[in-house]
C-alpha cells in the first residue's frame, strides 16, 4: 500500500478515535435523549402513527440533529487541531496534505454515521415502544438512517471546509443552518429548494410513503446527483484550502 493510502487510513482512524473520545459525546447523549423523549412522548398521543413518526423524524433528525451534529464535529475537527497545534504531527509527515484532508473527512463521516445511527435507533425505538401502530416502523427507521448517511456526506464536507477556512467557523455554521436551511428553506418557491435539507426530502419521498415528506416534489435522481456533486466539490475545495494553508 502506498504511503499516502497508509497515511490516509491512519489520519481517518486516529481522528475518528479522537472525536469519539472527546467530551462532546455527552452533548450527543443529551440530544439523543431529547429525541428519544420527544418521540416516545409523541407516540402516546392520540392518532400517533407512522405518518406522525415520519414528520417527527424530518423535524428532529433531518432538520435539526443532522446539521447540528455535523457542525459541532465537522467545523471543529481540523480547526481545533490547528488551535491546539496537535496538527503538527500530520503536517510534518511526508503525506500529501490533500490525502490528510481526505483522511479527516473519512474519519468525520464514520463518526457522524455512527452517531446518527444510534440516535435514530434510540428515537425510533422509543416511538415504536409507545405507539399503538408499529407496522412499517423498522422500514422508516432504516430509511431515515440511510437518508442521514447521505446528509452526513454533504454536511461533513461543508462544515469541514468552513472549519479549515475560518478561525470561528461555528458562527457561520449556525447562520447557515438556521438562516439558510431553516428560514430560506421554508420560503415558498424555487429558492426554498436550494437547501441540502430539501434535496434530502426529495430523496426521502422516493424511499418512504409515510408522512408529508412523501409528497415532496422533485426528481430524486437529480437531487441525489446534486448532493453527490456538491459533496465532491466541497471536499476538493477543502483539500485545496488545506494544502495552501500556512499553519503557524
Amino acid at each position: 500500500m502506498s504511503l499516502n493510502l497508509i497515511g490516509l487510513r491512519t489520519v481517518a482512524s486516529f481522528s475518528a478515535r479522537k472525536l469519539l473520545m472527546n467530551r462532546r459525546w455527552m452533548l450527543v447523549m443529551l440530544l439523543g435523549g431529547l429525541v428519544a423523549l420527544v418521540m416516545g412522548y409523541a407516540a402516546t398521543e392520540d392518532g400517533a402513527n407512522m405518518d406522525f413518526a415520519s414528520d417527527l423524524m424530518v423535524i428532529l433528525l433531518l432538520a435539526f440533529l443532522l446539521p447540528v451534529l455535523s457542525l459541532i464535529y465537522g467545523a471543529s475537527m481540523i480547526r481545533n487541531e490547528m488551535d491546539d497545534r496537535s496538527i503538527v504531527q500530520v503536517i510534518t509527515a511526508p503525506l500529501d496534505r490533500r490525502f490528510s484532508y481526505l483522511g479527516y473527512y473519512i474519519g468525520l463521516v464514520m463518526v457522524l454515521c455512527l452517531l446518527v445511527t444510534v440516535v435514530t435507533l434510540v428515537g425510533g425505538l422509543a416511538f415504536l415502544a409507545f405507539s399503538p401502530e408499529r407496522e412499517g416502523g423498522a422500514q422508516l427507521i432504516i430509511t431515515f438512517i440511510t437518508l442521514q448517511y447521505l446528509g452526513v456526506l454533504v454536511y461533513s464536507a461543508l462544515f469541514l471546509l468552513i472549519g479549515t477556512l475560518m478561525r470561528q467557523p461555528i458562527y457561520l455554521g449556525l447562520i447557515y443552518i438556521f438562516i439558510w436551511e431553516g428560514f430560506i428553506g421554508s420560503v415558498p418557491g424555487s429558492i426554498g429548494n436550494l437547501t441540502i435539507r430539501h434535496q434530502l426530502m426529495v430523496i426521502a419521498s422516493e424511499l418512504t410513503e409515510y408522512g408529508s415528506v412523501a409528497w415532496t416534489s422533485g426528481d430524486w435522481a437529480v437531487s441525489s446527483l446534486a448532493l453527490v456533486i456538491l459533496t465532491i466539490a466541497l471536499v476538493l475545495a477543502g483539500a485545496y484550502v488545506f494544502r495552501q494553508e500556512e499553519v503557524s
Binding site: G7, R9, S86, V88, Q89, A93, L95, E246, V247
Partner: protein, 308 residues
C-alpha cells in the same frame, strides 16, 4: 552536499509582525545550535524548514530542496516542536504507531522500529502508559522518539530543554549528542540559553530580532561576547582608591561612584582584561569587595551589542 540548510535573505512576516528579516545562514552537517532570546525567530525558522509556512522573500533549501509544499522532503526530516501537542489519552506506543502510519510505515517492521526508538530515548518501560501522566522529560523524549521514528537524515529540535530539570537536561543533551555521533543524524537544535547549546555542539548560530547576527564556532562567539563593553557593579568598602586606580587603566571607559561610596558602576571595553586584573587591583588598593556582577553577561545584551 556540504550544508544541510542554506537560507539567503529570508524574510517572513505575519501581518505587521516580522518573524525573520533578511535572514541568511548556512547550516553544515553535524549538530548546529540556534541560539536566541524568546521571540528572536527560532520557531519561525523551524516552521519554514518543515514547510509549515512559506517565505515571503528569499531563498531556502533544506537537504537541497525547497520545503514549501514538498511532502517528500518531510520523509528526510524529523521535527520536534517546542510546544506540547501529545494526545493525553494515547500511550507512548500508540502515539508512535500513529506517527509510523503517517510516514507510511506498517507491519512488523514498524513494531521493531517503535521498540528501537523507545530504547534510544529510554522510554521502553513507560511506553504503555497514557501520555497524560508523563513528566515533562518523558514527554520531551517521546516527542524526540516521534521525530526519530522514520530514521530521518535531519532532526529539528526546537527548544528541547525548556521546562526540564537539570537531570533531564543532561539526559537530553547526552541523547542529542548520541543521535549525531552514534546514529548519524544531522541535528539542528534551538535554545535561548547559550551554555546549554555549548554542551551539545561548538557550531552555533545566533538569532536576534529575526536576523542571524553571528554564526560559526562557539569560541568565536565567546570572543565577541568578551569583546563587547560591559557594565559591572562593584560593592564593598574602600572603593575610592580602587576607582582612582581603575580610571588609569586603558580598558576602563567610565566610573560612576554611588554617593554612599559603598558601590560603583564601572564600564569597561575589554571585560576579560578587567576581570584578570581585578584581584591584583583590589589587593593593591586595600578595597574589600562584597559583590562583583556584570550586568551584560546575558545573551540579550550580547545580541544588542552585535546588532549595534
Amino acid at each position: 552536499m556540504s550544508n544541510v540548510v542554506e537560507a539567503r535573505m529570508l524574510s517572513k512576516w505575519y501581518g505587521q509582525v516580522i518573524g525573520l528579516n533578511n535572514f541568511s545562514i548556512d547550516v553544515p552537517k553535524g549538530i548546529t545550535g540556534i541560539v536566541g532570546p524568546n521571540g528572536a525567530g527560532k520557531s519561525t525558522f523551524f516552521k519554514l524548514l518543515t514547510g509549515n509556512i512559506k517565505t515571503n522573500v528569499g531563498h531556502l533549501r533544506v537537504l537541497g530542496e525547497e520545503p514549501w509544499q514538498n511532502p517528500s522532503l518531510l520523509a528526510k526530516i524529523g521535527f520536534c516542536p517546542d510546544y506540547d501537542f501529545l494526545p493525553p489519552d494515547l500511550n507512548g506506543r500508540e502515539y508512535l504507531r500513529f506517527v509510523a502510519g503517517l510516514h507510511g510505515m506498517e507491519g512488523l517492521r514498524t513494531v521493531d522500529r517503535v521498540n528501537e526508538v523507545l530504547s534510544i530515548v529510554t522510554m521502553t518501560k513507560d511506553a504503555d502508559r497514557a501520555m497524560g501522566g508523563y513528566s515533562k522529560g518523558m514527554r520531551q523524549r517521546i516527542k524526540i522518539a516521534g521525530a526519530l521514528l522514520h530514521d530521518p537524515e535531519l532532526l529539528l529540535l526546537d527548544e528541547p530543554l525548556t521546562g526540564t530539570d537539570p537531570l533531564i537536561r543532561k539526559e537530553i543533551i547526552d541523547l542529542v549528542k548520541d543521535l549525531n555521533k552514534v546514529h548519524g543524524h544531522d541535528v539542528i537544535v534551538s535554545s535561548h540559553v547559550l551554555h546549554e547549546i555549548e554542551r551539545m555542539t561548538h557550531q552555533v548560530a545566533l538569532i536576534y530580532k529575526g536576523r542571524s547576527v553571528a554564526s560559526g564556532d562557539i569560541s568565536e562567539i565567546r570572543r565577541l561576547m568578551s569583546d563587547h563593553p560591559h557594565n559591572i557593579v562593584l560593592e564593598g568598602r574602600g572603593l575610592v582608591p580602587l576607582a582612582q586606580t581603575l580610571l588609569t587603566k586603558p580598558y576602563t571607559s567610565s566610573i560612576e561612584l554611588r554617593p554612599d561610596r559603598l558601590g560603583m558602576f564601572v564600564r569597561v571595553d575589554r571585560p576579560e582584561e578587567f576581570f584578570d586584573a581585578l584581584p591584583e587591583l583590589v589587593a593593591g588598593t586595600g578595597a574589600e569587595l562584597e559583590r562583583v556582577e556584570s550586568l551584560d553577561d546575558d545573551l540579550e545584551s550580547v545580541f544588542r551589542y552585535l546588532v549595534g
